[in-house]
């Protein structure tokens, strides 16, 4: 059992490694993608500088906390797209019957699909998050927590996208819906939760999991709370398990597209 898990992890690591090596074939494009994505994210610092000129705090956040929020959103999103980029195009693969090649692999189907692509620009997102925390609010304990929450955030974003993407097993036109739902999560993740009240907060913490992926971790990094910490860890585990279960339930309904294509599309 342990050997099987170790082998599966090795396969995933190799898969991601070769994805990145393939992207690095053109080094100029590879580096441009990473650097420009960091610049692209950096442009939003201007937005927040302008807003903080108008008001000292926004939604109970200082500029440093907003940078922490932005950094965590970017690095979680980045890590998710570095390791599991294919999850975000899962609906198209289901609709077009492109999962065939993964079904015949002697390894775990879901992990094989998830790790079969990497987004180069996501490396820029990932690095940007760490750069932001080092510049604006560096502390060793905070950096450790930030690294941990980057992993939980990436798992929550991936699981949510997997859940939404798996809807395509049941509904024909779900691919656009799942894409927009993932975008909705990212849109909310870069604004302080203090500006939302009532029903919206309920939505952000229970329906779109941005509350536990980003907001709670930011609160924990600002002032540590054991209860909140374990809530985030527990929720990540639960959502991941739910997403995996739904994917395999849906996979039973999958019908082949009869496509003769390799696994690296």
């Amino acid at each position: 059992m342990l050997t099987a898990v170790k082998n599966q992890i090795r396969v995933c690591v190799f898969s991601v490694k070769y994805n990145i090596m393939r992207e690095m074939l053109n080094k100029v494009t590879f580096l441009t993608n990473i650097l420009f994505m960091m610049l692209n994210n950096g442009a939003f610092i201007i937005q927040w500088l302008i807003l903080f000129r108008l008001k000292e705090e926004i939604g109970g956040y200082s500029i440093h906390q907003v940078m922490l929020l932005w950094g965590l959103s970017a690095s979680s999103y980045g890590l998710s797209h570095i390791l599991f980029a294919r999850v975000f195009s899962l609906p198209e693969m289901i609709v077009n019957g492109k999962l065939d090649c993964y079904l015949v692999l002697p390894k775990n189907v879901l992990l094989s699909v998830m790790t079969s692509a990497t987004s180069t620009s996501a490396i820029g997102d990932f690095l940007y998050g760490f750069l932001v925390i080092c510049i604006f609010c560096f502390r060793i304990d905070r950096l450790l927590l930030f690294s941990l929450f980057t992993i939980t955030g990436a798992l929550i974003i991936t699981s949510f996208s997997l859940l939404m993407g798996s809807l395509s097993f049941w509904f024909v036109r779900a691919e656009k819906f799942s894409m927009h739902m993932t975008n909705v999560m990212v849109s909310f993740a870069t604004y302080p939760d203090g500006i939302f009240k009532g029903g919206t907060r309920f939505l952000l913490y229970l329906v779109i999991p941005v509350g536990l992926a980003i907001y709670h971790p930011v609160h924990i990094m600002t002032s540590f709370d054991v209860g909140m910490f374990f809530t985030v860890i527990g929720y990540t585990g639960l959502l991941t398990a739910a997403a995996i279960t739904v994917f395999y339930l849906g996979l039973r309904r999958y019908s082949s597209g009869n496509l003769m294509e390799s696994g690296r599309m």
């Binding site: 494009t29 441009t32 692209n40 442009a43 926004i58 909310f188």
Partner: protein, 267 residues
């Protein structure tokens, strides 16, 4: 000239009819637009502590309407035709076939793109109006007759933006992936003209922004709808026409240079 126009009108019409089939898919994009506007309504509600406050000369209602209009243009005019399609045509070699067709490749792309936003943009405009009226109330001082001048500004702004984005996509003749340059251009437009009116920036920067496409692409059209004045309208229209001419010249220049490079490399 009229024969040439007819050619591109046929392309425009065929794309328009094709896109009418995908109205449901376009409507799915409403989710993202709704959420973006919702976030900004909440944000500005928080920042305007007193509803009577003025920020950079804008009331709360005007500020929210401004963001809703610029976001409407942003969402309603976005398309992969002028970005990803051009890049993949060049990178994949498809351009070698398309450049031999009896049309100019760049004008063909512009006609196709216009056919796409001609469906999308009015749908988003309708949604923006319904959302604005129900969530923040009618726009103070707005006279529907001013739309006769504002709508051409919106159309020209979208076209100027398309021409500049097309110029960036044509860089794929030299670099493999022009997407990173698109991100930077988009962010400049988004952060400095879409999310806020330029009056919110310090004076020196405002002057600088007036010299960039930000002024013609998003600020100008939205400003006219929110706070119309005939002088401003004339100024914006003139700037847009200047930018359109400069952009088209640049586009033909880059395409001409790029095509020669393609010939040297053998496609």
């Amino acid at each position: 000239m009229s024969r040439m126009l007819k050619k591109y009108t046929v392309i425009y019409k065929s794309v328009l009819i094709e896109n009418l089939q995908y109205m449901f898919n376009i409507a799915m994009g409403f989710i993202s637009y709704f959420i973006m506007c919702f976030v900004f309504i909440k944000l500005w509600n928080y920042i305007y502590a007193d509803p009577g406050d003025l920020i950079a000369g804008y009331t709360k209602e005007q500020m929210i309407w401004y963001v809703m209009i610029t976001e409407m243009v942003w969402f309603g005019a976005r398309s992969s035709t002028i970005t990803r399609q051009v890049s993949s045509d060049i990178r994949g070699g498809n351009i070698a076939y398309l450049m031999n067709k009896p049309y100019h490749y760049t004008l063909y792309i512009l006609a196709k793109y216009t056919g796409e936003w001609s469906i999308q943009l009015p749908m988003y405009a309708l949604l923006a109006t319904v959302m604005g009226v129900t969530m923040i109330g009618s726009l103070p001082g707005f006279r529907p007759v001013t739309l006769l001048a504002s709508v051409p500004c919106v159309i020209l702004g979208v076209t100027v933006n398309a021409v500049f984005k097309l110029c960036i996509s044509l860089l794929s003749f030299w670099i493999e992936d022009s997407a990173p340059f698109q991100w930077i251009y988009d962010k400049l437009i988004l952060v400095m003209g879409t999310l806020f009116p330029i009056e919110i920036f310090p004076g020196a920067l405002q002057f600088l922004f007036k010299l960039t496409p930000i002024y013609t692409v998003c600020y100008g059209p939205a400003k006219l709808i929110v706070d119309f004045s005939a002088e401003k309208c004339a100024e914006i229209l003139l700037t847009q026409l200047l930018y359109l001419c400069a952009g088209l010249l640049l586009m033909f220049f880059i395409y001409g240079k790029g095509v020669r490079k393609l010939y040297v490399n053998g496609g």
